[in-house]
């Protein structure tokens, strides 16, 4: 399973490195979303600084939709999805590999967007322990759930519109948990930030388990 996962992740990341869709299209889109938030909040720096954690995670969420859609668009051409099945790869390995590739891309985007909120909103990043831990848990949760729902929508005529409808309500607790954890880390509130990390970790574990167990059924059904 792990060897298959590594092979699939390496394949997806190699295709992304060659096609540069994430760096040339998704990353500029994510930064553009931050700029638009600046317009929407009328350049009110105080307000932007207060709302920065939420805006950051909304931008990550929108970008993750593109990353997931891209991950499954790779498999739609030239019967690649049938190839995945015919190679005899472990479906759990395919799930873990695709989720890992999406997570790596999201980590890259988060570093870029983190720089973006420091530069554009004047956010002072601190509380690094909670900040990094919650980011890792939230990213794994987003990548795992995105891969499950991406596979669910793959191959359907309405996949572009169906994916956000399926994925956004599901990842609402990730948005909520990650935003609150970041607000605690950035000292914008005095809540217990680690319980949000627990929630994010639980979400990520559940979706990793669901993906490992259920991806075979989805792959067969696609």
């Amino acid at each position: 399973m792990w060897r298959d996962a590594l092979a699939v992740a390496a394949k997806d990341l190699r295709i992304e490195a060659r096609s540069r869709v994430t760096t040339n299209q998704v990353a500029p889109y994510a930064v553009l979303v931050l700029l638009l938030f600046g317009f929407a909040f009328d350049q009110n720096t105080q307000l932007l600084r207060q709302a920065a954690p939420g805006l950051f995670w909304v931008a990550v969420l929108f970008s993750s939709l593109l990353a997931v859609a891209r991950s499954f668009a790779l498999e739609s051409a030239d019967g690649a999805r049938d190839g995945l099945r015919m190679w005899g790869l472990d479906p759990a390995g395919v799930f873990l590999g695709k989720a890992a590739a999406v997570a790596v891309q999201l980590f890259g985007l988060e570093i870029l967007l983190g720089g973006g909120i420091v530069f554009l909103f004047g956010t002072d990043l601190r509380g690094w322990g909670l900040l990094v831990a919650s980011t890792v848990a939230a990213t794994i949760g987003l990548a795992a759930s995105g891969t499950v729902y991406g596979m669910m929508a793959a191959g359907l005529r309405v996949r572009e519109t169906l994916l956000p409808l399926l994925m956004l309500p599901v990842v609402a607790p990730v948005l909520l948990g990650a935003t609150e954890a970041w607000r605690v880390a950035l000292a914008l509130t005095s809540d217990d930030g680690w319980r949000w990390f627990t929630l994010l970790g639980t979400f990520a574990s559940i979706y990793c388990a669901l993906g490992v167990l259920g991806f075979g059924a989805l792959l067969e059904g696609a």
Binding site: Y149, V158, L168, I206
Partner: protein
């Protein structure tokens, strides 16, 4: 023999009894709620929403729970049957109806009680998320594909959604809660007399309405499923029979060379397209 039973309609004796029971209990609830029950000391007339809202919310949760259980039964190899998929689809649809009713009545109550149509209360947010999840589920069910793959995809989706509900619950509860706690399920309920009777009747009425709607919707799903699987073959058979009748009548009316060729058309072996016939009109 087809695995799917072939109902000719969506009503039977059970649905008629359920429908009558639902009508009677709903009328009784309306009588108690609007006439017998007095206004509340603190909430005034606004309290009458309790004869609709809590029962609708319960019916919504029951329907969504049934959808999740049916989906598990479909995915479990030992219990896999198309019936579970149809039941999951029917309960999701009915659940969405009750979820909308819950949100609308809750919003009306919130406007009167809190002064706003919407507030970011934990249960409100959770119910709105549930509605969004199951609208996605219904969209997935209608997104095409063959019956087997659609059923499998939908079942996995329902299981994934039901697993995320407790997390949603914790997330929204930790975030904020303003909502009223349990009223009925306490050792000493905080309502008495006609209010208690009316509220209990509303639960019975809405659960009967839920069962009635669910049975009709399930049977409709069966008919739709039957139409999808057998509709084309039935239409083809009907068309062939029609062509044979037309050809026969044309031969009787006009013994022309065209009509003489018609018996050959009617005797074409099954599975092969009948020769194109002349326009007899």
């Amino acid at each position: 023999m087809s695995l799917i039973p072939k109902p000719t309609g969506t009503a039977n004796r059970t649905t008629r009894v359920l429908g009558a029971g639902a009508l009677v209990t709903a009328a009784f609830t309306a009588w108690v709620g609007l006439i017998e029950s007095p206004p509340d000391v603190t909430q005034g007339q606004l309290v009458r929403i309790i004869y609709v809202h809590p029962a609708a919310a319960t019916a919504c949760y029951v329907a969504f729970g049934l959808c999740a259980l049916s989906s598990v039964a479909y995915l479990w190899p030992r219990t896999r049957s198309r019936r579970w998929d149809l039941l999951a689809g029917a309960s999701a649809e009915v659940g969405v109806v009750f979820c909308v009713l819950t949100l609308v009545t809750g919003s009306i109550w919130g406007r009167g009680s809190w002064g706003v149509w919407w507030t970011w209360d934990a249960r409100l947010t959770l119910t709105a998320l549930l509605l969004a999840l199951f609208l996605g589920y219904l969209a997935l069910r209608r997104s095409g594909g063959d019956g087997e793959s659609r059923a499998r995809r939908s079942a996995v989706a329902a299981v994934c959604f039901s697993v995320v509900v407790p997390i949603d619950h914790y997330a929204t509860s930790w975030w904020r809660t303003l909502h009223q706690g349990d009223t009925l399920l306490k050792v000493d309920p905080s309502i008495h007399g006609w209010q208690l009777v009316g509220m209990a009747a509303s639960f019975v009425a809405q659960l009967l309405i839920l069962s009635w709607l669910l049975l009709h919707r399930y049977r409709l799903e069966q008919l739709e499923d039957r139409y999808e699987t057998e509709g084309f073959a039935a239409a083809l058979t009907e068309r062939r029979a029609e062509a044979a009748v037309d050809a026969g009548s044309a031969a009787a009316l006009a013994p022309t060379p065209t009509a003489q060729a018609a018996p050959e058309a009617s005797s074409a072996p099954a599975g092969q397209p009948a020769p194109e016939r002349e326009n007899s009109q």
